[in-house]
Symmetry: C2
Amino acid sequence: MTGDERRTAQKEAVRRALRQAPGFVSAGELHERLAAGGNAVGLATVYRQLNALAEDGRADTIPGPGGRLFRACEAPGVHHHHLVCEACGRAFELDAPDEAWIRDAATEHRFTVTRHVLEVFGRCADCPTY
Amino acid sequence: MTGDERRTAQKEAVRRALRQAPGFVSAGELHERLAAGGNAVGLATVYRQLNALAEDGRADTIPGPGGRLFRACEAPGVHHHHLVCEACGRAFELDAPDEAWIRDAATEHRFTVTRHVLEVFGRCADCPTY
DNA sequence: CCTCCTATTGATAATGGTTATCATTAGACC
DNA sequence: GGTCTAATGATAACCATTATCAATAGGAGG
């Protein structure tokens, strides 16, 4: 019934543009980049692809001012966090640190952990403080 | 010029309602709670107060499905994180763990850290898995 | 190459949370 | 009380995201 997925130029264009983006970008930004690069894709399609990618871990997403931001995931399926530049959006993936304390704290409060979010924000060397 | 801040019933009503809420709540939810409790406050004012509280650390905020969620901060000014129940919104504050690795990772990438976000989500003991 | 089926696209309308507007209300100091 | 102006609140404006639906185009089979 639903085992059919088609290969389209738009899907690849969105994925390529996302990979080429320097860091986290918004859906609108990606939409503009695509148009500027001659591969115009409908905004609705950009959102659809971005959501699909985020859904199965091929893209990371963080909430930003004025909407969600997306980034191509370098290591799909592997747990990791991000170091994001607040000025230019550039981001690095960080290996997960020791997270045993999370389980311990959860157990203490009789919680079952389902997920956790960790994002570090700052300024990269190329972006002056002002 | 701008050293004037007035004490109003609405401000206190919003703050009280936020403190009495069991966990993280949305602005709309708080608005309804206030109306239901006989202390109706305009929605715009609820947002204004919530933003003001979040701005200077007297309330914590996390992004949720369909908008931001707020909670009265138990320890204003002290760095901490949260353990949030995805079902009922109840939350506990967690003491910050060793975060030296964050600075180390940042230095490695020549970043200056300005802030970081860490939220743990799960199910509390009172909320069945389904 | 042609046809059919249907996943996908895209222009646009609809949705929904948040913010801006602005006339009115009401603290606080005289 | 009177005055000044911060604060409120009903409502409109905003804006990111999602839903709608007719038109397009993979791709499998003939």
